[in-house]
């Protein structure tokens, strides 16, 4: 094994160390300060009272679970939208890739507030697609909004995932072994971009979990607006919430790293996945 490939060793990493320490300080200080403040609910002592308070609050758990569900739905919808599209483009329409990629980057260019403003105007009462007229429809619109927000990240993750495995040749190999297109997608393509999907999924989750603009403008009881509300009404709980939000996102990212870096055959946790895939295979054949 050759170590540090592509990274010639600097003889004096002093400068590097100071840059990195400075950055680390900038990143960690606010977290520490928030944490410290969140412990100050009881005057003159450090306690987890704020956290206790939160976990005893229905609205905390309700809004968090609402957002979690919305995020999961967004992940599901995003996956179903992006994976087949990317696969198809790479396989059959390589010339369309530029356009599709550009489209997927649009949400980075158009501010979310503009997008949601458009939704409220376009899909209100009397529209052919009245998505703002009931709770369920608003929920749906929120999920769609999250899919849009996460589109650039989801697309990128899946696209690079597919680029890494030479989708065309794998498809042909499976075809020459008699597999149908559906079968190829299920047992060759999906498992091999699984880590990419998972990566995209956690990005989606971390974007939408604490999202404020869309949820607030659509009046959804989500975690983001709850955070803002708490910030207005309480002093110490919001700091605890900030820390919790950070930890939740962090856990998501850690999970993502875990999945994304894991190679096939290194079965630690995902026996579940593999098992499910084989079952599906059996159903198909």
């Amino acid at each position: 094994m050759r170590l540090g490939k592509g990274a010639p060793v600097t003889r004096w990493p002093l400068l590097s160390w100071s840059i990195v320490l400075l950055a680390a300080g900038y990143f960690l200080l606010p977290l520490y300060a928030t944490f410290q403040f969140s412990l100050g609910m009881q005057r003159g002592e450090l306690s987890f009272a704020a956290y206790h308070w939160l976990f005893g609050s229905d609205r905390f758990l309700d809004s968090l679970s609402y957002s979690a569900v919305a995020s999961l739905l967004a992940i599901l919808a995003g996956t179903l939208l992006v994976v087949p599209t990317v696969y198809w483009v790479r396989l059959k329409l390589p010339r369309a890739r530029g356009v599709v990629e550009f489209a997927s980057l649009l949400p980075l260019i158009i501010p979310p507030i503009v997008v949601v403003f458009g939704y409220m105007r376009l899909y209100g009462d009397g529209s052919l697609l009245p998505l703002t007229t009931s709770d369920g429809r608003l929920d749906l619109l929120l999920v769609i909004g999250y899919v849009v927000l996460a589109l650039p990240y989801m697309f990128r993750a899946v696209d690079t995932g597919m680029a890494a495995i030479d989708i065309v040749t794998l498809t042909e190999a499976a075809e020459s072994l008699g597999a149908s297109r559906w079968r190829i997608v299920v047992s060759v393509i999906f498992p091999n971009v699984r880590s990419a999907i998972v990566a995209g999924a956690f990005l989606t989750l971390s974007i939408s979990l604490g999202e404020f603009v869309m949820a607030s403008l659509l009046s959804r009881p989500a975690f983001g607006p709850y955070l803002v509300q708490m910030g207005q009404d309480y002093a110490y709980q919001p700091a605890a919430l900030a820390i919790l939000a950070f930890v939740i996102t962090w856990v998501c990212m850690a999970l993502m790293q875990f999945f994304a870096l894991r190679k096939p055959g290194q079965r630690v946790l995902p026996r579940l996945w593999a098992g499910r895939a084989t079952k599906k295979e059996r159903e198909v054949s």
């Binding site: 160390w17 840059i19 990143f27 928030t34 939208l81 059959k92 403003f117 458009g118 105007r121 603009v213």
Partner: protein, 282 residues
């Protein structure tokens, strides 16, 4: 050469989604920007954008986005250099990457809380500076709720975002390039100036672009930090949508159109710059 038509059908779901939930809303806004509340054609809304308060909001937004994107890009580049080429242990790079994944999405409300706890009036750093060094930040004119305070806050998600997206490009610098340059007599600085930076330029440009867009559309952080007292464009738009006494939806459309227009212009600029920077690429 055209692919058979049915192949394009495979794109239908995606195209439909993009059309319905990205393109149409924007087009609707464009149309609305040219109408009075009664539906007549007018330029008044656009003209209103030039009113001093709105124009200054745009200017503030643009400046804030430029500054935070510029600082983020520069800082991110430095940190990335240190991590990838600085001879530091590799676990540091992994730690920063995971952290960046979190922090780049740590915008909005919690971020505002965190900075208030750090640099607010009774923030950790403020108090430490006061008690240990006798520096009174707020007396010396600093405020977290000012332009620079906000820029500093934005940096918290801009820097990691830069770090995340520039790292692959930085890793793409081949060790052989540096060695070839060195064997040709170049010092490290010469290598960076003549080879590494030119090679990185297109990536840096696209990252900067992304950071700019990211900052330009940010609302939650400002709302959580200052309420609605810091007049960046998204705040104005937010107020229009939220429906306050100044409510005028068509002005809202115009504001949104202005935001989109600025993003389009920046993008065009970016494409030109990028094309020039990467004429040596496919």
């Amino acid at each position: 050469m055209g692919s058979p038509l049915w192949r394009w059908l495979g794109l239908l779901p995606f195209a439909l989604f993009v059309l319905l939930f990205l393109v149409l809303p924007v087009l609707y806004l464009v149309q609305g920007a040219f109408q009075t509340p009664q539906g007549q054609f007018t330029f008044d809304n656009l003209r209103a954008l030039a009113s001093p308060t709105i124009a200054s909001a745009y200017s503030l937004s643009i400046r804030l986005s430029l500054v935070s994107a510029g600082l983020g890009a520069l800082g991110g580049l430095l940190v990335c250099y240190a991590l990838v080429h600085g001879g530091l242990p590799s676990w540091l790079r992994h730690a920063f990457t995971t952290f960046s994944g979190v922090a780049s999405n740590f915008a909005g409300v919690p971020l505002a809380f965190a900075f208030i706890a750090t640099l607010g009036r009774l923030g950790l750093v403020t108090v430490l500076l006061r008690d240990l060094f006798g520096i009174n930040l707020y007396a010396s004119g600093f405020s977290l709720f000012s332009f620079w305070g906000l820029a500093l806050t934005y940096l918290y998600f801009q820097l990691p975002l830069m770090l995340l997206i520039i790292t692959p490009a930085m890793q793409g610098l081949k060790r052989e390039w540096q060695e070839a340059a060195e064997s040709l007599g170049a010092s490290r600085a010469q290598y960076w100036r003549r080879v590494a930076l030119p090679v990185l330029t297109p990536s840096v440009l696209s990252c900067f672009m992304l950071l700019f867009a990211n900052a330009f559309g940010t609302l939650a952080t400002v709302v959580a930090l200052t309420g609605a007292n810091f007049p960046v464009v998204p705040i104005l738009l937010f107020q229009q949508i939220r429906g306050n006494v100044l409510y005028n939806p068509n002005l809202g459309f115009a504001l949104a159109l202005g935001m989109v227009a600025i993003m389009v212009v920046t993008n065009l600029l970016y494409f030109v710059l990028r094309a020039r920077a990467e004429r040596w690429q496919r």
